[in-house]
């Protein structure tokens, strides 16, 4: 598959990357691993004028500890992060979700920042330009309809990051830098809940740090997919438990993950949360498994993940 024409620039530091973005008048994409972006560009879902390579920025390639935070540079590959001792010891949910992401070869290329900021996916969206032109453009392509559910106002594309769920369950936050300066947000605030434009990032903003509270947790990640390698999640559930309290995150359905606090871990609380998650998840027929099955599995995987996390804690 041939790429469309674009320019390639390599940035040495964050300020230069932002300057390059502004120089391209907003028609530029930041490139890290490229495992999500390059296929999008090949399918003409994104047609940037320039690609700004962030891999040369040393600041984005580091893992450190500062105070009570574990700080991950977004250019760290999924494989590197998975092999890090702190992740294994402190954040088992993150370890499991990293391990469940795609396959080993792609984990060695894909970065944690890129994984968080991957675009939402839909069976009728991630297709070639010819296919999409024949079918007619949907909301997410700038059209005036949804091709999956007729006569709705929203886009139901699925946010398919495995690791966003485990990071949410661990209470992670993000540091961003952009033309208007730096800011720090909770990971929950990253999601706009609109499938057309799933993130609240401002134009030209770069993810510079991922902060995870450095507290030992137990946890688990459960993923629904057809093949155990390569597939994106058709449903993912991450659970992290710290000091008798927990957090459950359900994703892979709709443009933003669902987050629930688990106060009473051992008793009836679990059943309530699992049922609530099932009621609130709104899958539609835009993935390889049926919407009804995915909805049922929300409750099953939530209960399974929490039970496994509790067992590991003992």
């Amino acid at each position: 598959m041939i790429l469309p024409k674009f320019d390639y620039k390599k940035a040495e530091d964050i300020a230069q990357a932002i300057a390059l973005y502004e120089g391209a008048r907003g028609r530029a994409c930041y490139l890290a691993g490229g495992t999500d972006l390059v296929p999008m560009v090949k399918l003409r879902l994104s047609t940037p004028k320039a690609m700004i390579d962030l891999k040369g920025i040393e600041q984005l390639n580091t893992i450190s500890r500062k105070g009570n935070s574990f700080i991950v540079g977004p250019n760290i590959t999924l494989f590197e992060l998975k092999c890090h001792d702190t992740v294994k010891d402190y954040f088992p949910a993150l370890y499991e979700s990293l391990d469940a992401t795609s396959c080993e070869t792609l984990q060695m290329r894909g970065t944690i920042g890129g994984n968080l900021l991957q675009n939402t996916r839909c069976l009728l969206y991630n297709k070639s330009l010819e296919w999409r032109t024949a079918r007619g453009f949907c909301y997410k392509m700038g059209g005036a309809t949804c091709n999956v559910v007729p006569n709705v106002a929203a886009c139901f594309s699925n946010y398919c990051s495995d690791n966003a769920l485990s990071l949410l369950s661990l209470g992670a936050s993000l540091k961003l830098a952009g033309p208007e300066g730096e800011r720090k947000i909770k990971l929950e605030k990253l999601f706009s809940r609109d499938g057309r434009n799933p993130f609240t990032l401002k134009p030209g903003e770069i993810l510079t740090e991922i902060h995870i509270p450095l507290k030992r947790s137990t946890g688990a990640y459960e993923k629904l997919r057809v093949r155990n390698a390569i597939d994106y999640p058709l449903l993912g559930v991450a659970v992290s438990l710290k000091e008798g309290k927990g957090r459950v995150c359900v994703g892979g359905i709709g443009p933003a993950p669902l987050v629930y606090d688990l106060k009473d871990v051992a008793g009836a609380g679990l059943k309530d949360v699992a049922q609530q998650a099932r009621q609130e998840a709104k899958p539609v027929a835009n993935a390889t498994l049926s919407a009804g099955y995915r909805k049922k599995m929300v409750q099953v995987l939530t209960e399974r993940a929490v039970k496994r996390a509790l067992k590991e804690g003992k």
Binding site: M1, K5, Y8, K10, V38, P39, K42, D53, C103, R109
Partner: protein, 155 residues
């Protein structure tokens, strides 16, 4: 669009080229350097037929832009054999009959080589997990896994 000058090593030989900024490493290897061992199948990073090693890491060359590998050291399937002899993995793939149409084979062998380079004696589970990065549509994976295990046991 202005071309970009890139220099890298392919199979221990230095290469210097003027490439288009939107050229993938796979295109450069196949069309400019005549290294046609890496194959284009899906072109979207799903299948692994285009796997080559860049600085010791197996990468899907259809997802990598050539300007990104400036200064890197690349190994393709053509660079595995030494002095007219095949690499033990290549021998093992032949011996166990792990090749049918052969389209996925170069990618499979490069993924396996990266595994054996970092883990001399992988367990069967580890082999299966790593090799699941690549898709084969003919033989099934049993013989491929056997071939990788066979090559590992000979080292």
């Amino acid at each position: 669009m202005k071309t970009i000058k890139v220099s890298f090593e392919v199979n221990s030989e230095p290469v210097s080229l003027q490439v288009k900024p939107y050229e993938t490493l796979l295109e450069t290897l196949r069309e400019r350097l005549d290294l046609i061992g890496a194959k284009e199948a899906c072109g979207l990073g799903a299948c692994g037929a285009c796997t080559v090693m860049v600085d010791g890491i197996p990468l899907r060359s259809c997802l990598v832009l050539t300007p990104e590998v400036n200064g890197a050291s690349i190994t393709t399937i053509e660079g595995l054999g030494k002095n007219g002899n095949l690499h033990p993995l290549q021998e093992s793939f032949m011996e166990k009959g792990a090749v049918q149409c052969g389209f996925c084979t170069s990618g499979m062998i490069m993924t396996a080589k990266a595994l054996l380079d970092r883990n001399k004696k992988p367990t069967k589970k580890e082999v299966v997990k790593t090799m699941s990065s690549n898709i084969c549509r003919c033989t099934g994976y049993k013989k491929i896994v056997e071939a990788v295990e066979g090559a590992a046991s000979k080292r």
